[in-house]
Symmetry: C2
Subunit: 361 residues, 2 copies
Amino acid sequence: MKTQKITIVEVAKGAGVSTATASRVLGQYGYVGEKTKERVLAVAAKLGYQPNKIARGLITGQTRTIGVIAGDISSPFYAAVLRGISDVVEGHGLGMLITNSDETLDREVAATKLLRENQVDGLIVSPCDVTDSPHLREAVKAGMPMALIDRKVKGLHVDTVAVENIKSSRDAVRRLLLAGHRRVGIVAELAADESRLRGFLASAKDQPPNGLQLLSTSWQRLAGYLEAHRAFGLEVDPNLILAAVGHSALAAQNAASAALNEKARPTALFCADGLMSVGAMSAISAKGLKIPRDLSLVCFDDLDWMTFVGPGIDAHAQPQRKLGRAAARFLLARIGQAEGAPRDMRLSPRMVERGSMRSIL
Amino acid sequence: MKTQKITIVEVAKGAGVSTATASRVLGQYGYVGEKTKERVLAVAAKLGYQPNKIARGLITGQTRTIGVIAGDISSPFYAAVLRGISDVVEGHGLGMLITNSDETLDREVAATKLLRENQVDGLIVSPCDVTDSPHLREAVKAGMPMALIDRKVKGLHVDTVAVENIKSSRDAVRRLLLAGHRRVGIVAELAADESRLRGFLASAKDQPPNGLQLLSTSWQRLAGYLEAHRAFGLEVDPNLILAAVGHSALAAQNAASAALNEKARPTALFCADGLMSVGAMSAISAKGLKIPRDLSLVCFDDLDWMTFVGPGIDAHAQPQRKLGRAAARFLLARIGQAEGAPRDMRLSPRMVERGSMRSIL
DNA sequence: GTGAAAGCGCTAACAC
DNA sequence: GTGTTAGCGCTTTCAC
């Protein structure tokens, strides 16, 4: 019952021209007489011709579609990044094939395969393995334009857009220390394993650990937190590192409320991202504490915003969008003409201090 | 510098078989000898053969890709829905081409065109125009399998997955009225225009207005709110309808704080969705009020959860995912074999009462 | 300016 | 079981 598909052949027949001519006007590459052009266009419209990009792609080798491998589309971070990507991608009339990796190597590899088989013109990946990732290297070697988001892969020379995690969180925490706080908690997803955390603390005691650029976001922000303390000559109480088990507000809430119930509770909290701050807010509010009377709270929410936070999460959507836009622009530039050295763009959050939640925007 | 593409022809040549045989092995449709099969596979692996789905699509007429038109990927609602869709779509090895309509007809039309040109096997749309939408009708008429999410289009007989907005919000508000509340505010995005709101209130005074199923979500939930009041014989104070200008937490916050600052402030708030509740929470918290001590707050958050709410917003992400999953399953079933009458699935939220925010999950 | 013809990489009939 | 052939719908030489 599928309606008869109208192809260029039918249009050409209807207009009494060759398929080549019809194709020339429908595909918009020059040298067609005005009258024929109009005639073809008219017939196409009458017949309801719809181009088949698949067929076009087969011959041009371009699908005008890019592939995106996100960690989890439903997370606010990726959702915003994706929106940024789609802003520029749709703006250029391209399509966007999206997959989730769930931060899992297996699924990322599968996604890469799927997208390559679909002949996408380029790939935007937020890689879950920042050291090895042979599937990405291979794709790049095979000539696939690629842009990385949020994380850099060791030795993979492609455009990368990321956030200045270490420097920025260091600045934020320093601000709290300058304000006189001496018990600053950090709420972050660091759950991987306890011993890793201990090792990290030990190695960061006297100097920044090596290879920070390759750590995941939360760990980088922890590194900044530690650096700020070190610069102040302060020892970090491990009890102040409130590790959330999983990247969810609930996990953050659990981590934060445990700390808030202790006698020596933190006087300030540094939240590693927006989701963590939502959880921390819950804990604070459940405890009956108030911000900023009882507690200072700084939230790292990527890019533009570093706030004394309220729950107005949507106010923070915009910034990450920039990340996506930047990555997409880079990629499209590469697709256009693959030249120039890979760019490495690092965006630094702006710190915004706010008295009340009303003024979040 | 693009690496030489390996086609089936090369593989066949290498294995000393015909392209047909190679294709049979690589494409996995039976009747190949064990030995030849192995030989072909070995050569394919050695050469690094990667199938070209574009070419396959051209001939099979199937791209194994579906198109999705969402309002705005970055909104928590669509982000979760999309994730649900991708769960099942990726599970079946299909791809997903995503676009944003920004709830704009123009962009929705453009997206439909783009996706059709890309020969997607099916379309999941959350339509922004529920009465006319000729582009969708046309696509369906042309044989495009389609599933609608969240809203039904008048007279368009395709699978639809939506939420029981009216009934559920009525139940939620009734609950508050039963608890003795007489000033229940509703926080919802109703900003379109003031006079529409007045008209709606007037028409809902004595009986449910007509055509409710075609209203947008917020308006349906308002209708439920009004119905609950009507059932109690209560007049609705228009000042209790806290219309947010735009679908953002900030807008909700503004609407809510205005009301909370009045002498006769509401004793309970019904929030039309999760984003509204985030904004309301901000307002409440800024005002120094406590939930549930000073105020009751019910949040309509689609599907499973209808909660006395705390700020643990992420706890609510899961439910909408179901919406997406359901729609995708419907669509895939249609793509498999287009038969049977369109299904109209309406999911009803479960109401969950909770004492403290700690227990939100 | 326009047409004829040769494919893009793959699959589907139909032989053998 | 395997090979031959003819396309899918479009673009692109290369003539004219």
